[in-house]
Amino acid sequence: MSAESSSPRVGVFVCRCGVDIGDVIDVPALVEYAKKVQGVAYATEDSFACSTSGLEKIEDAIKRHNLERLVVAACTPRTHEAIFQSACERSGLNKYLVEMANIREQCSWVHRDDSQAATEKAKDLVRMAVAKARLLQPWKEPEIKVNPNILVVGGGVSGLSSALSLADLGFKIYLVEKEAELGGMLKSLHKLSPTMRDSSESLESMLRLVEQNPNIEIHTSSRVKSVEGAISNFEVEIESDGKVVERFNVGRIIVAIGAEILKPHGLYGYGHDKRIITQLDLEEKLKNNDLKGVGTVVMIQCAGSRNDERPYCSRICCNTALKNAQILRELSPDIDVYIIYKDLITYGVESSALELNTKRRGVKLIRYRDESPPEVAIEDGSVVVKVFSPTINEEMTFRADLVVLSTPLVPRGEASELAKMLKLPQDPFGFFKEAHQLSPLDFATEGVYVCGTARAPKDAVESISEGLGVGSKAAEYKFSRIRGRGAAFAEINEKKCSGCGICIELCPYNAIRKDEIGISRTDSALCGGCGVCAASCPERAITIHHFTDDQLEAQLLAAIDRRPRK
């Protein structure tokens, strides 16, 4: 796209950002400078350009001064670009005709000690932004019809909640579960705190609703084999028994594959003696009433977590231990239960009540220090637990009939595979990572969401909340016709393309394919606008819209030519 022949009228708004910019950069001088830059028809400042009054000022100025492009010299576009884009729209300007100059994170915040230099740099940044803004082109997002199908991977409580709520809104749900039965982790649990209701019974009602719901198509004993495409148009293959059995086209994908309990072979003797078990094993014993001859139970918290290998807290282990300890004491007052812990992670109202009730039932809580964890050994055929208690400054010894290790939740093996398939980042331990703190249910790949313990350890109630929450995110745009993609995307000039294929190898979105003649073609729906292809094309055959060569060259020239030229 070539530059327009007539010079568009650019408006420059310099934001003081309270004191963040205003205290370092000489804002009035910057405004005066901006007025002299070629193409600028109007320049002003504001304390908080992003405030409702600041935005109104911008909208008003666009109309009054017939501005055709907007430059906002303020903070980072990451948080605020959308706001200024909407200000453009509200004043009749195409939303992609705004360019931000980051004079906060990239200027005032890092040059606090040199006001003068910071101001000069801000002038450079504004000049560059204006140079690019003059070459920006309007763009309208293509209409993409909303796909009424949603894939939910994982049939535990989180996936089920998601499926049920979305089905109720009229979406068609493909529910894929790798096991033969739905229900996930809750099938293996005994009781759920804080209500102490039976886990299977609680699950029953949810399962019945899912089975009865005409909008939910259940595929058990199945796994996702491949996913192609992008939001609103995912092509999914699922397999069962090693062969592909179904193909769906869905608009959104919800990952709810859950997590599993760590089986810490070797830790505290686990695996060497059948009296040393995990909390999950204990749940099974409780379900089957398999506690004959158990007189003393010792539970060890943080077994395999909050250590160097896994520095995270698994959130639910303390509550689980307290719950099970309470149940054991209720079974018989002759069962002694000791919980050996580092920090007691109970939080909030219900969990605190659980702690109190458990203590009242005579469960003994013994604290241990990081440096001196408990020791488990087999002596004369008995399992002996030794731990130093800083509270009484003595070492305590227990002969346990059962040692229950509270181990953390860890991501399932499949998580990495799925992460790669869906291009979802994982944290260092394998849990799926959300995009941003204030949007914990938004993820890097558009149209893909993660809920439940696959995202991070949590209990059933929290998993249900998250299942509903991602449902809300996935349901967004059901009533809206237009799906935005952003103005930055790659366009390949087929006449210049030599078919070398470098761009295909490098594209992180797998958005480029060779056509029948060998020319590279992009799928604009998949393209993320990152620019790697354009940068590496030896024929310079690729243009990135909104970051065209002309625009970038104009910015570079503006960077080194400091004369405002007016």
């Binding site: 309270g18 908080f48 409702t52 009054s53 948080t79 609703l209 939080y347 449902g471 745009y477």
Partner: protein
């Protein structure tokens, strides 16, 4: 079908719920008591564990919410009556007058400058004053003044019309009356948040007696760049930079003393203390920071990382032992904290410049009135009651009314936001789980 949902409470949870609903084409009425939306989060400096600037990440949402074509924000408003049932609630809201016409107001600030009345500024936790006509803070949404009738001379019978005279666009409207608005909504989401425990009743810590003993909200204002000191952590007694700081955890929480505090753990104090400690160390690397704790509850993603950063990287001292008392040197106003280090068994007395009491999260006082209006039950502490969080997630005891965020128990921002989305879903779907397994 045009669906309408009422969201009560304009904090981060209420804002998120409103946005979720509106982005699905549902009409939302967001009712907020204060003259601005943003709730407690707007007063905080940073979030944990990411140390993001609170107002920076909240503001885009506040603005999106306020300007969203599907959301009607009613500030200075309260719900007074609720009748009907799920699918068809008839709600009455009272909108208190701002006494300023927002559409003609240019935000020039002349009225505020000329106003003769000063009162303590509650947004700045009382460290500064504001006028009777005021804009709560620079990023307030809506960014417009309102008159605090209670402190205004005009309404006190004094006949003062200084602001009206100063206004160049005749935007001051003393004659504005409270307006009753009737709404018809299919469901209601309660997101009214929490209030901070007042540690004054724990006399052993000297809050309000000793100048340099403060609460977390007061601390957040002190370190905020938009606070009364521009972000300098100065001691209330003498304005000097505090170099030796102590945090006392669980003040008011986990209390089994009759009539004092609450027995539950407030969940977030371990983390906000760590966050505040890191903030201090980042500003003043040579400061000495001690956290007196009982348990360290670092139970979410990256929480433990922040604790490790505070303790291992930045040298924040963690002492396990809840202090018995804080005393004050009457001449210097320095504080002495008596404690037992339960790991070593030693009794110690720590001298500090400033002490922050990590206060419990309590249900709002107004919950009683609101619960009555809504016809829902509160739990024994005064939080909105959710009968069965598993089967009836986020449902109050009345069909069609849901909760999210701290109004039903203490939780952090991330969880509140997740619940807001979940409540938005619950409020618009028919699914109801029961123990008998029937749908609804």
């Amino acid at each position: 079908m045009d669906e309408n949902v009422l969201v009560i409470g304009g904090g981060v949870a209420g804002i998120q719920a409103s946005l979720d609903l509106a982005n699905r084409g549902i009409n939302v009425d967001l009712v907020e008591k204060a003259p601005y939306i943003g709730g407690v989060m707007a007063q905080l400096d940073k979030t944990f564990p990411t140390m993001n600037c609170c107002i920076c990440i909240l503001e885009p949402k506040m603005i999106e919410c306020y300007r969203h074509p599907k959301i009607t924000v009613h500030t200075l408003s309260e719900v007074t009556e609720v009748e009907g049932s799920k699918g068809n609630f008839k709600v009455q809201i009272i909108e208190r007058p701002r006494f300023v016409d927002i559409s003609s107001c240019t935000r020039c600030g002349a009225c505020i400058e000329k106003c003769p009345v000063t009162v303590p500024d509650e947004f700045q936790a009382g460290f500064e004053s504001r006028k009777a006509i005021y804009i709560p803070f620079p990023q307030a949404v809506p960014y417009a003044p309102s008159i605090d009738k209670g402190s205004c001379l005009h309404f006190g019978g004094g006949g003062c019309i200084v602001c009206e005279e100063a206004c160049p666009t005749a935007a001051i409207k003393y004659e504005q009356d409270p307006r009753t608005v009737s709404l018809n909504v299919s469901s209601i989401i309660v997101a009214t948040g929490f209030e901070q425990y007042d540690p004054k009743e724990m006399g052993e810590y000297g809050y309000k007696r000793y100048d340099n003993v403060i609460t977390p909200l007061e601390f957040e204002r002190l370190v905020s760049p938009y606070g009364p000191t521009g972000g300098e952590l100065t001691r209330p007694s003498d304005g000097k930079i505090a170099k030796r700081i102590a945090f006392v955890q669980c003040v008011g929480s986990r209390s089994h003393r009759e009539g004092v505090g609450v027995p539950y753990c407030s969940g977030i104090c371990c983390m906000y203390a760590a966050k505040e400690a890191v903030t201090i160390k980042e500003k003043y690397p040579d400061s000495e920071v001690t956290i007196f704790y009982i348990d360290i509850k670092a139970f979410s993603r990256d929480f433990q990382n922040l604790i490790n950063k505070a303790r291992d990287e930045m040298g924040v001292e963690y002492i396990r032992g809840k202090p018995g008392e804080i005393r004050e040197n009457p001449l210097t106003k320095d504080l002495y904290i008596w404690y037992e280090d339960t790991d070593t068994g030693e009794i110690g007395r720590k001298e500090v410049d400033l002490a922050i009491l990590s206060a419990a999260l309590l249900p709002r006082n107004e919950n009683t009135r609101l619960a009555q209006v809504l016809g829902v039950d509160l739990d024994e502490f005064g939080f909105f009651k959710v009968e069965d969080p598993f089967l009836s997630s986020l449902e109050t005891t009345r069909d069609g009314i849901y909760v999210c965020g701290c109004c039903h128990g203490p939780r952090d921002i991330s969880n509140s936001v997740v619940e807001a989305s979940a409540a938005a879903m619950k409020a618009t779907t028919g699914i109801r789980l029961t123990a008998e397994g029937s749908g609804g």
